[in-house]
């Protein structure tokens, strides 16, 4: 059983089901509160009947700083998914999908052009999940991650920058069909 609602700081005391999972990063308090302070409608949680958090999504709304306006890497007003996680016991119930849809609804409500996210290029499960939700690869960020999730001999891993156009992007101007071919460096990513 689950509830979907906006995050509140008291939830930080009920994160164990999600954050003891080794694939979920635990951040400093200021990081969570920054999102809650600036983009509360993009920080949503799923909780179980005992108030334990069994999934959450953190996102933000932003554009590149004006100085980059004429750069080819300039990002217009958009929503970004910073973190999304579902506790092991709550998987296969569509919770991740619902949380993502809620963030997309908030992105539309805030007139964003698209929602984007970064994912490890070897995380096939996550890539398939996002593709099933309408996301596509926009570009490849070379050596974005400072480690490799499956090959300890490698010191870095590429990221896919995936995007889904929102209602504002009627002409689908902010997505690409062949994004895998566009490689950029981490320094190009704002």
């Amino acid at each position: 059983m689950a509830n979907f609602r906006r995050f509140r700081p008291g939830d930080l005391n009920k994160l164990s089901k999600c954050n003891l999972d080794p694939f979920t990063e635990t951040y400093e308090l200021s990081f969570y509160l920054q999102y809650y302070a600036k983009w509360p409608s993009l920080f949503q949680v799923a909780e179980d009947q005992n108030g334990n958090i069994i999934g959450y999504i953190m996102g933000k709304l932003e554009s590149s700083p004006d100085v980059y306006q004429f750069s080819e890497h300039y990002l217009p007003w958009h929503a970004h998914i910073t973190a999304v996680t579902v506790a092991p016991e709550a998987r296969r119930l569509g919770i991740g999908r619902l949380l993502t849809e809620q963030l997309e609804a908030a992105a539309d409500a805030n007139d964003a052009w698209f929602v984007d996210l970064f994912v490890r290029s070897t995380n096939h499960k996550a890539i398939a999940f996002y593709k099933s939700m309408g996301y596509s690869i926009f570009r490849v960020v070379k050596d974005y991650y400072g480690d490799h999730s499956s090959d300890p001999t490698q010191s870095s891993e590429d990221a896919y920058d995936m995007r889904k156009p929102m209602k504002r992007d009627v002409k689908k101007e902010h997505i690409r069909e062949d994004g895998e071919k566009y490689e950029v460096q981490p320094t190009d990513v704002w």
Binding site: A2, R6, Q49
Partner: protein, 1009 residues
């Protein structure tokens, strides 16, 4: 702008020479140059530079000049220019944390400037600076000035900043009682006016001073809740433009969600029913997304409201009808909502059943709710969360329904299962439910507890197996263990099943190991009460069954290391077993860090210094990650990210963040961090880096500060029914963190700090007599405070249940010592013997002896003395702490007496003779106990060094003692088989022994003086 420790830039008009001296931090040069410029240019700004530069010099007088300068400015009532203000704020930043209050100094200067220049962008910086120092009085004044200045500009931000700050001030201790009412009324009226504007405007404009967006509206409701009345809230929440449903229609759920909670606390069930029904209908009609409010909480509250209505049957039928409408929706239903609907149906049928528990005449237990439960289980039995989903419903079934579940529904589900993998998943779930039922009181019936004048050991009859039993039913537990072991072995032996496991969400053997482990723990006699009431947590336990339980769960964890539920239980069990190093090894991989420290770290670190000081001797200080988390999170006076919330218009976020910060500042885990570290440091080096009360993290903690415990037990695999204690209560050493325990620990550390204080060697006061009097007065003042506070907490009615017996003994002694020390130092040679001295002294002695008796007590007959002592280290630790406290107090008083004798040869200022004699006697008793305790540990070390330990441990595990396994051969064989016989346990025994040896080695390194 508040610069913290960063240096502000000087005005661009300042010459290059002075600029570079300032930026280089060449303070003597800055003082000299600024002085020259001030005289030449008659510009006060240069005077300010000079004072600020002086504040960076070493001399105390120069450093404090800034304080005098600020005080003068405050008194002058003039507006200080902003550059000077910023310089002063930077120069005074070291003092602002402790010596001076921002609200009395720079805050009013900022207010003056902002009021004089409200339209300047720098006025905003003044507001920000006041917020950074959490000076709400000044911030509120500035925000009001800004609101007035921008009244007609259409910038609505300032209005809501002013409202939010007025509200925060009205609920803050910074607000004087006389102003509180005024601010409360003011903020309420402002928001009511805004609400009226919204309700009366057909279309709101962005410039209107009404409530426009969700944050503003929810802010109004938050204020209404605190300062308004219930009727107004209820009226508004049903309103057409600002009500909960109105916001839902616009896609905003927050108010609806919050109002359900508020109305529930008020018992407004009819309104809850109405709101929920309308909200759900909005989904059905497609006004909102279909499942927008199909949350479990909404259904649960809706159903609860239906059952409390005047016509509950009709209301519940309406609930079911709405549920059917949702089921009938043609759109695709997300799985989680489908499950919510199925559970809501179960909840509704359960509520309906409780209203009129009719059953079919032929099958007594086949009620509607059991049928519904069966249907739910059929659909979801292979989901990880299914046990938690149905736990509440299974726990409230009548015995007849339980029988139907066990005898009809489960067998038919099993026989209908053709898939072997699903079959074992179902088998594992049934084992968990059978264990759950063994913890439910309805499976037992009372049996005469006295027969033929004899007290019966088994005063219940189990309705499941019909046997006589104590609580819980041992026969059922044994049968569950045998069945679970059988299922587990069947899985391991079938390659098709083991091959399928990686494709499953969870290896079913984890749950089976858990059921086996928990059942063995219950059979061993592990009880939450026993942990709290007895000195030794494991005294009452059957060691054989207790060790078997740990061994089986440990073996499973090694196979499936990612299972945190099992891991957490094992961490606690190893701590109970006196094997902290092993517990630590299991704790570390969970990587509890940063934000989750506050809720999770007590699961390992609580009482850790009393269990294993050796852990504090590692390369990285054990508590450092916790300390560093609190230091970074509570670094500033204002809650983190306050300004971001303000500038983003996230007013409800801001209020929640302030509340969260308040809880974090007075967290029991924070206090645990400080106390455990302080104790461990004293144990090894004898002297802490800083007194505990001097730690900035403890500055806000006063005796009347309620400390809050936020420990999160959510990840424990908990199979216990809600009718009794939960698993964390079984496997915890003593009561959980509490306000009372945290305060007592804090006060006793302060007492230890006072006793161990030694002035620096360089301290040679010119007027020795005056200094000695000052010191004596200071010590008496501190002792008076500690004595009063310790006595208050130790005599609080909640205290005995918040402590282990060892802690209660220790804190009682510390409290008595504070009283004895105060009495001693308040006497002089000529005074009569103080009446309460001998009473305090004899109470200390009695409590100490009682602590000694229980710490160094002989082992129960069925247990090895060494093994028993190893599981009793918490009590031994507090015996040492208490004896050291006695010794140090006596030493402190006697040293004072000696100093006075040396200083004043007449002897008049020395202490009273009987007092001195009592203290000497106490010192002797303490020294004797310390020596006994040390010898006890030495003996333990020697005993552990002897040969034959492995065989001895194996002997306990496999029950050489017939009584240990109650002569149950089937159980003995099954468990032995599961473990793999003695060969399978050898490696584990070796690890346990190693852990014990490490622990004792650490104990022998601690100080005994």
């Amino acid at each position: 702008m508040a610069y913290g420790y960063g240096r502000p830039a000087l005005k661009s008009t300042v010459d290059v020479q002075l600029q570079s001296a300032f930026s280089d931090g060449n303070w003597n040069a800055v003082v000299r140059l600024a002085d020259k410029r001030a005289k030449a240019l008659k510009d006060n700004y240069y005077e300010a530079i000079k004072v600020c530069a002086e504040s960076q010099l070493d001399g105390a007088a120069e450093r404090c000049g800034i304080l005098v300068a600020i005080e003068d400015l405050v008194k002058q009532k003039t507006v200080v220019d902003i550059d000077t203000l910023e310089l002063y704020e930077w120069a005074a930043s070291d003092f602002l944390q402790s010596e001076i209050e921002y609200a009395d100094t720079l805050g009013p200067l900022r207010v003056r400037w902002a009021k004089a220049n409200p339209k300047s962008p720098l006025a905003l910086q003044c507001l920000q600076a006041c917020l950074e120092y959490w000076d709400l009085v000044s911030a509120q004044q500035i925000s009001t000035a800004l609101d007035k200045a921008y009244l007609n500009s259409g910038d609505r931000r300032y209005m809501f900043w002013s409202i939010t700050l007025t509200f925060l001030l009205s609920i803050s201790p910074q607000c004087s009682e006389s102003s509180r009412k005024v601010y409360s009324l003011l903020v309420l009226k402002q928001l009511e006016r805004a609400a009226e504007i919204t309700e009366n405007s057909p279309k709101m404009d962005i410039k209107d001073r009404g409530l426009l967006n969700e944050e503003e509206i929810c802010l109004y409701y938050r204020v209404l809740l605190v300062h308004g009345n219930k009727d107004d809230y209820i009226k508004r929440v049903q309103g057409n433009s600002l009500g909960a449903l109105a916001l839902l229609r616009k896609g905003h759920k927050l108010l609806f969600w919050d109002s359900l909670g508020v109305l529930e606390t008020w018992g407004e069930w009819d309104l809850i029913f109405d709101l929920s029904r309308q909200a759900l209908r909005l989904g059905l009609e497609g006004v909102t997304p279909h499942f927008f409010v199909c949350d479990w909480k909404v259904w649960k509250t809706f159903i609860a409201a239906a059952s409390k209505s005047a016509k509950p049957e009709a209301a519940l039928e309406e609930v079911q009808s709405i549920l059917q409408d949702f089921f009938a929706l043609k759109t695709k239903k997300p799985d989680t909502y489908k499950k919510n609907l199925a559970l809501a149906l179960l909840e509704a049928s359960s509520k309906l059943y409780s209203l009129s528990p009719v059953t079919a005449p032929d099958v007594k237990g086949m009620t509607s709710r059991v049928i519904q439960l069966g249907l739910f289980l059929e659909q979801y039995f292979d989901r990880l969360s299914v046990f938690d989903d149905v736990k509440e419903y299974v726990s409230c079934l009548s015995f007849e329904e339980v029988q139907t579940l066990l005898e009809d529904i489960f067998p038919s589900m099993l026989s209908a299962q053709s898939d072997n993998v699903k079959g074992v998943i179902l088998g594992s779930l049934i084992c968990k439910i059978r264990y759950l039922l063994s913890t439910c009181p309805q499976t037992l019936s009372r049996h005469p507890s006295i027969t033929d004048g004899q007290q019966q050991a088994e005063p219940y009859r189990c309705r499941v197996c019909s046997g006589l039993t104590s609580l819980p039913c041992k026969h059922c537990l044994k049968s569950i263990i045998v069945e679970a072991i059988g299922t587990s072995k069947r899985i391991s032996a079938d390659s098709d099943l083991t091959d399928a496991i990686p494709r499953l969400d969870k290896d079913p053997r984890i749950d089976l190991a858990l059921v086996i482990g928990l059942s063995l723990l219950k059979l061993s006699g592990l009880r939450p009460g026993a942990l709290e009431a007895l000195w030794s947590p494991t005294r009452d336990l059957d060691p054989s069954l207790f060790l078997q339980a740990i061994l089986i769960m440990d073996a499973q964890l090694r196979e499936t290391p990612s299972d945190n539920g099992l891991r957490l239980i094992l961490v606690r069990l190893y701590l109970l077993l006196g094997n902290a190093s092993h517990a630590h090894q299991l704790w570390v991989p969970m990587d509890v860090k940063r934000t989750i420290h506050d809720a999770l770290s007590p699961l390992f670190f609580d009482r850790i210094s009393s269990l294993s000081p050796a852990l504090f001797q590692g390369s990285r200080p054990l508590m450092e990650p916790l300390r560093s988390y609190y230091s970074s999170s509570l670094r500033d006076q204002c809650p983190l990210k306050t300004w971001e919330a303000f500038s983003s218009g996230s007013y409800t976020s801001l209020l929640d963040m302030v509340e969260y910060d308040g809880h974090l500042q007075r967290s029991c885990t924070l206090m645990m961090t400080l106390v455990e570290e302080s104790r461990a440091t004293r144990a090894f080096s004898g002297k802490t880096e800083m007194e505990i009360a001097e730690n900035p993290l403890a500055w806000s903690i006063q005796d009347d500060t309620p400390l809050v415990n936020k420990t999160d037990y959510g990840s424990f695999s908990n199979l216990e029914s809600p009718h009794g204690p939960q698993i964390q209560d079984f496997v915890r050493l003593g009561p959980e963190l509490s306000n009372e325990r945290a305060h007592l620990a804090f006060l006793s550390e302060q007492f230890a700090d006072l006793l161990s204080f030694r002035p620096p060697k360089e301290y040679k006061p010119a007027k020795a007599i005056e200094a000695a009097i000052r010191d004596r007065n200071y010590v008496l003042e501190r002792l008076t405070h500690l004595n009063r506070s310790l006595a208050t907490f130790i005599h609080h009615p909640k205290t005995p249940s918040a402590l282990t017996s060892a802690e209660l003994g220790h804190y009682t002694i510390v409290s008595l010592l504070a009283a004895a020390a105060l009495t001693s130092l308040s006497t002089s040679r000529a005074d009569p013997t103080p009446k309460n001295m001998s009473l305090a002294s004899s109470s200390i002695r009695t409590t100490l002896m009682s602590l000694r008796a229980s710490s160094l007590q002989p082992a129960p007959a069925h247990m090895s003395a060494t093994c028993f002592a190893l599981t009793n280290m918490h009590a031994v630790s507090y015996l040492r702490e208490a004896a050291l406290a006695v010794k140090h107090t006596a030493g402190f008083v006697l040293a004072f007496h000696e100093r006075e004798l040396a200083r004043d040869r007449s002897g008049k200022s020395a202490l009273q003779r009987d007092v001195v004699a009592e203290m000497k006697a106490l010192e002797t008793v303490a020294a004797k106990i310390l020596s006994e305790t040390k010898a006890h540990l030495q003996k333990l070390k020697e005993a552990l060094g002897e040969g034959g330990w492995l065989d001895r441990l194996l002997g306990w595990i496999f029950g050489e003692d017939e009584q240990a396994v109650d002569g149950d051969e089937e159980l003995r064989r099954a468990v032995s088989d599961m473990i793999g016989g003695p060969e399978g346990a050898e490696e584990w025994c070796g690890r346990v022994l190693e852990g014990w040896r490490e622990g004792i080695k650490g104990w022998l390194m601690v100080r005994w003086e």
